[in-house]
């Protein structure tokens, strides 16, 4: 009999299939997502055969009928997975599609979605989203899908997220923007075509002019070469003896350059003007046109040639710029850098500029400035050094020692006459108190004792900040208790050091050892004895307490076990009596039990579906419970009646 029953049970489970069990497992969770491993398992199981798919549909619809939104939500997620993959699944699900929709979206008024309400709302929005997706991808083949979608959208006016259309619209917008920008580019290109030769000529002429200028300069510069070297060297040797080597090299290089002087100033001016024009106007122009040419979508001979020429032009400009830079005419960077320098000066930060950066002729002045600035720089730095690091260095050793141990006292007026023992004038400021009514004694003196009395140093006692350790006891819902109490947490008892998991670390032995160790080294015998005595007493006491507790626990557990045994027996008897008739019901009962056990086992670990359904008791609820309890209302009514009675009696004292 027994074996037969187990056999049938097994067969049933076998028939039910792997998928059904997997689905049951996957939907029994409080997470927002289905466990990916289970999901994968479901997928592979469903993939194996058509029967499994049929089972999956049946199991999922059963899950969908459960009065718990979380279960339904997870079931919907699994349905989506299979729906997007299996044709058979689709055809099977679609047969009862109205039922599915009413269970997942809850559009029927008499069949609202079950609690918890937060999950229910996510379930609804998710299902609507999924329905839209399904309709978009498979609507053509399944009239039921179309019908359901149409009904929800057009009859019930549900709001669909409209993912697909939104995406299409975005794409459309992007395309339009691109077309517009292309048109603009094309227009620019046309403009450019017209003005191309003009621009080119202009730029070319500027470049040519620059070239000419440079040529002229070079022709002139050759004969001034030697004298410059001499002067430069002298100056440098005088002012900067330290960086001599480096600067000399620089100077030698610079010496070969042509410098501006009164003779060639005009040329330099022209050159500078031209350079400015070239860099500030023509160069960006060339860049712009080049980018236009690169981006424009025209396959044209003109475009290629123009692009080539512009690249050449740009190279010319760059080379011209370099040449000018060699001459010391850095115009583009010039104004910007100048601005920077100004800012720096305004901020009061002093920096040493490299000598080669500015144009050569006024290097003398520059150097002098440099020396000044370096002096200025040095002075405060030295001061700072003195004040910070080498404060005690020049003091006698005993004083240093004293200073190191001296207490730090907060600043106060009493520090003014610290250690002085003399009288102070009462009116030390020399104020003339002429209009004062009383006698004015300008020589009044406050005696030293009084001053000492007045300047008694008071400080507010400040407790040493102690960090209160958190309780750190493990919580049921995961994590550690973060309550900070001094000695005992109201929830988790006395605060003991715990490890990262929240398990208490047995500290007594270690402390004992640490205490014992110095005693072992042998310092004072009596003390040690005393200590040991104390320790043993303490330990004994703790042991006793522990023993008592353990015995208590033992008693409790044994009691519980006994109760459990009794219950088990009762249940067995009841079951036998009630459902001895069919093996099916027997199996059913046992399976239920197994599930129950499973749940019980899990309860300790994580929140269950039931806990989601349970309403949280808020303070309001508690208060209302208090206030609305029968006793309280009775009492208040009684009180009110009494009050009224009293009033009545006062008002009509002659009546009963």
């Amino acid at each position: 009999m027994e074996s037969e029953e187990t056999m049938t049970q097994e067969r049933e489970i076998e028939a039910e299939g792997v998928v059904a069990r997997l689905i049951e497992m996957a939907t029994d969770s409080t997470d927002q997502e289905v466990d990916p491993r289970l999901l994968k398992a479901i997928k592979s199981a469903a993939r194996s055969s058509d029967n499994e798919v049929r089972d999956a549909v049946r199991a999922l619809m059963n899950q969908m009928k459960k009065p718990h939104s979380q279960v339904r939500y997870l079931a919907v997620l699994i349905i989506d997975l299979l729906f997007m993959r299996s044709k058979l699944f689709r055809t099977l699900l679609v047969v009862n599609f109205d039922q599915f929709l009413s269970l997942s979206i809850g559009f029927r008024r008499n069949l609202p979605l079950p609690p918890p309400s937060t999950v229910a709302s996510t379930l609804r929005s998710k299902s609507i989203e999924l329905l839209e997706k399904w309709n978009a991808s498979f609507g053509i083949h399944y009239r039921q899908l179309r019908l359901g979608f149409d009904y929800l959208k057009n009859t019930l006016k549900f709001h669909f997220p409209n993912r697909l259309e939104n995406a299409a619209r975005l794409q459309q917008e992007r395309r339009e923007r691109e077309i517009r920008s292309k048109q603009i580019l094309l227009k620019k290109f046309q403009n450019f075509k017209e003005s191309y030769s003009l621009i080119k000529d202009k730029i070319q002429s500027t470049i040519d002019e620059i070239g000419e200028c440079i040529e002229i300069l070079h022709a002139k510069g050759d004969d001034e070469f030697v004298s410059y070297i001499a002067t430069d060297d002298d100056e440098l040797e005088e002012s900067r003896p330290l960086a001599l080597q480096q600067i000399r090299l620089d100077a030698l290089k610079e010496g070969q350059k042509v410098y501006e002087s009164s003779e060639n100033m005009a040329i330099f001016d022209v050159l500078r003007e031209l350079l400015r024009l070239l860099i500030s106007k023509h160069f960006p122009l060339v860049q712009k046109w080049m980018s236009v040419l690169v981006r424009v979508d025209v396959t044209d001979k003109f475009r290629d040639t123009a692009l080539k020429e512009f690249i050449d032009l740009r190279n010319h400009i760059l080379s011209a710029k370099e040449k000018c830079a060699e001459l010391g005419c850095v115009f583009v960077d010039g104004p910007v850098q100048n601005d920077d320098e100004k800012d720096l000066w305004e901020d009061g930060k002093i920096e040493i500029d490299g000598p080669g950066e500015s144009s050569g002729p006024n290097s003398e002045a520059k150097d002098s400035v440099n020396t000044v600035t370096s002096n200025n720089d040095k002075a405060p730095a030295l001061h700072a050094n003195k004040s910070s690091d080498t404060r005690f260095l020049n003091l006698p050793p005993e004083k240093r020692k004293l200073l190191s141990i001296a207490p730090v006292v907060e600043w106060g007026p009493f520090l003014d006459n610290w250690g002085l023992n003399r009288d102070a004038p009462a009116n030390q400021r020399g104020l003339e108190l002429e209009s004062h009514w009383g006698r004015v004694d300008s020589d009044a003196v406050i005696p030293a004792e009084k001053i000492a009395e007045l300047s008694v140093h008071r400080t507010v006692y400040k407790e040493q900040p102690v960090e209160i350790q958190p309780c750190n006891a493990p919580l049921k819902k995961g994590g550690l208790c973060q309550r900070r109490d001094l000695k005992a947490c109201p929830f988790h008892g006395p605060i003991v050091p715990r490890d990262t998991e929240g398990n208490p670390i047995e500290q007594i032995p270690s402390s004992v050892e640490s205490k014992n160790q110095p005693s072992a080294s042998g310092v004072i015998d009596t003390d040690q004895d005393l200590d040991l005595d104390k320790l043993t007493v303490e330990r004994l006491f703790k042991q006793a307490v522990k023993n008592v507790r353990e015995s208590d626990i033992m008693k409790k557990t044994s009691k519980r076990a006994k109760l459990a045994r009794v219950r088990e027996h009762n249940e067995a008897v009841l079951r036998d009596a009630a459902i001895a008739s069919t093996s099916y019901s027997q199996a059913f009962g046992e399976r239920e039990e197994a599930v129950e056990d499973n749940r019980m086992g899990r309860k300790t670990k994580k929140p269950t579906l039931n806990s989601m359904l349970r309403k949280k008791i808020t303070a309001k609820d508690r208060i209302s419970k208090r206030l609305l309890s029968a006793r309280a209302t009775d009492a208040s009514i009684h009180q009110l009646m009494q009050g009224e009675d009293l009033k009545y009696r006062e008002a009509f004292p002659n009546q009963w």
């Binding site: 997928k43 047969v95 109205d98 009904y151």
Partner: protein, 454 residues
């Protein structure tokens, strides 16, 4: 199927049974049509549907937004999704905007039985209107004493063209299209009349079901009703296959033969399911005639049944449908019952139709398939196909999202049309269609396939 074609070629299978076999196979495989879609122009519940009786091509629908529309169910107006979905848009719509249109909900629509040039609409605004289909104009207007709940025209009438209209009023009126006047006022019901049906075997017999729960039979050539169906008067099983019973009704030979044919099949069924046969039937029938004869008051002989307060249903009779052979009547009531009546004897055949829940507030249109083996009944948001003789549910059609009001079975295409409160008109057809070509199949497969790739 090919085997049958071969048998038919060889002459082993008579043409009639070949056709009926194919038909019944197609009927039994009905499901929501994936490719045929009727685009409902209605903004309210679809109350009534009818396919014309001549070509079986034009579907007429009446809705509660006072609109009526006609569709061509054989030729699609539009195709969608690579031509997979055939959309049937309305050929014309008549609604409130029309000058002579109805003001309130249309409760029933009818094609003129012999021609699609005319159709009739009855509305809750107390009017029955006759329309010219081609010009979409009202050609005749009958003002009824109350809201019109139902109408019927006889499909076999050769001597009259009467619209029987049942309304809030207790009297059933017969509107004559030929003269534009009421020819008859049939009084006998004690409450409004929801459903009417002309006999399929005699053009003068009208059957009406009222909100008082009575089903009355009228012979329009005589005064008063001649029969009131009584749910407590019953016979077990179908009528005995005696030709003498059918003589006085003057059935056509075709119907008689078909009756006999179907009765033969039933003998075994009756033995198995119903046990004892109709031993008591003769006595019952005698009693029936006795009761008819013994009236207390002396009335006009035709009016005697006016006193008969027998009921066919507890509550209102919401739908009536005669079988194609004109021998049986199916009635549905607000007591959520379906009853099958023997028209000849007027007895309840006690077929127990399985549990159902019917809409109670509105009249509804039942449908019967062409060999009268199935009855399609709107059951809230679903349609159930019951086996007519055993009462078991053969199939349940899920697809509508709100209560279904009407179904109509087109015997030409073996298609079922249903109209519902969710404003949709759905087509239910067999998935094996001749028009479904290989090419289409390929198209389907390209997008609707298993996709286990990841």
């Amino acid at each position: 199927m090919w085997k049958e074609v071969r048998a038919r070629e060889e002459g082993a299978l008579p043409p009639n049974s070949f056709a009926s076999r194919i038909r019944s196979r197609r009927t039994s495989s009905l499901e929501l049509s994936q490719r045929k879609e009727i685009v409902s122009p209605h903004h309210g519940a679809v109350n009534s549907l009818q396919v014309d009786l001549i070509e079986g091509r034009y579907l007429l629908s009446g809705a509660s937004d006072a609109s009526a529309a006609a569709f061509d169910v054989q030729h699609a107006t539009d195709r969608e999704g690579n031509g997979l979905i055939a959309k049937h848009k309305s050929l014309f719509v008549v609604d409130k905007q029309l000058e002579f249109g109805h003001k309130y909900a249309i409760s029933s629509v009818l094609w003129y039985p012999v021609d699609t040039g005319l159709f009739v609409t009855g509305s809750l605004d107390h009017h029955v209107k006759v329309w010219d289909t081609n010009s979409v104009q009202v050609v005749m207007d009958f003002k009824m004493p109350g809201k019109v709940y139902g109408m019927a025209m006889s499909a076999i009438a050769t001597t009259h063209m009467l619209i029987a209209a049942g309304s809030e009023d207790v009297q059933v009126r017969l509107c004559d299209i030929a003269s534009g006047a009421f020819t008859h006022t049939l009084s006998g019901h004690r409450d409004g009349v929801m459903s009417l049906e002309w006999s399929a075997s005699s053009e003068w017999i009208l059957m009406t079901g009222g909100c008082d729960g009575a089903i009355r039979f009228w012979d329009i050539r005589r005064a008063g009703c001649f029969l009131v169906l009584d749910q407590s008067r019953s016979q077990l099983g179908r009528r005995p296959p005696l030709s003498t019973n059918t003589v006085n009704k003057g059935l056509t030979s075709r119907m008689a033969s078909s009756g006999q044919y179907s009765a033969k099949g039933l003998v075994s069924q009756r033995k198995s399911s119903l046990g004892n046969t109709m031993k008591q039937l003769p006595s019952l029938r005698k009693g029936h005639f006795l009761s008819k004869g013994s009236t207390v008051q002396r009335l006009h002989p035709g009016m005697t049944s006016g006193q008969n307060r027998a009921t066919a249903h507890y509550g209102a009779v919401t739908g009536l449908k005669a079988t194609g052979d004109g021998m049986y009547l199916i009635s549905s009531g607000s007591d959520s019952r379906l009853r099958l009546w023997d028209i000849e004897s007027g007895c309840n055949t006690l077929v127990n139709f399985e549990a159902m829940r019917l809409q109670t507030s509105k009249g509804m249109k039942l449908a019967v398939n062409d060999d009268s083996s199935l009855v399609f009944t709107p059951c809230m948001a679903t349609v159930k196909a019951y086996d007519l003789w055993s009462g078991t549910v053969k199939k349940t059609f899920h697809g509508h999202y709100e209560s279904v009001n009407c179904c109509h079975f087109s015997s030409l295409d073996q298609e079922l049309y249903t109209g519902s409160n969710d404003r949709q008109i759905l087509v239910w057809s067999t998935p094996f269609s001749a028009a479904f070509e290989e090419q289409d199949r390929e198209k389907v497969c390209s997008t609707d396939q298993d996709n286990w790739s990841d």
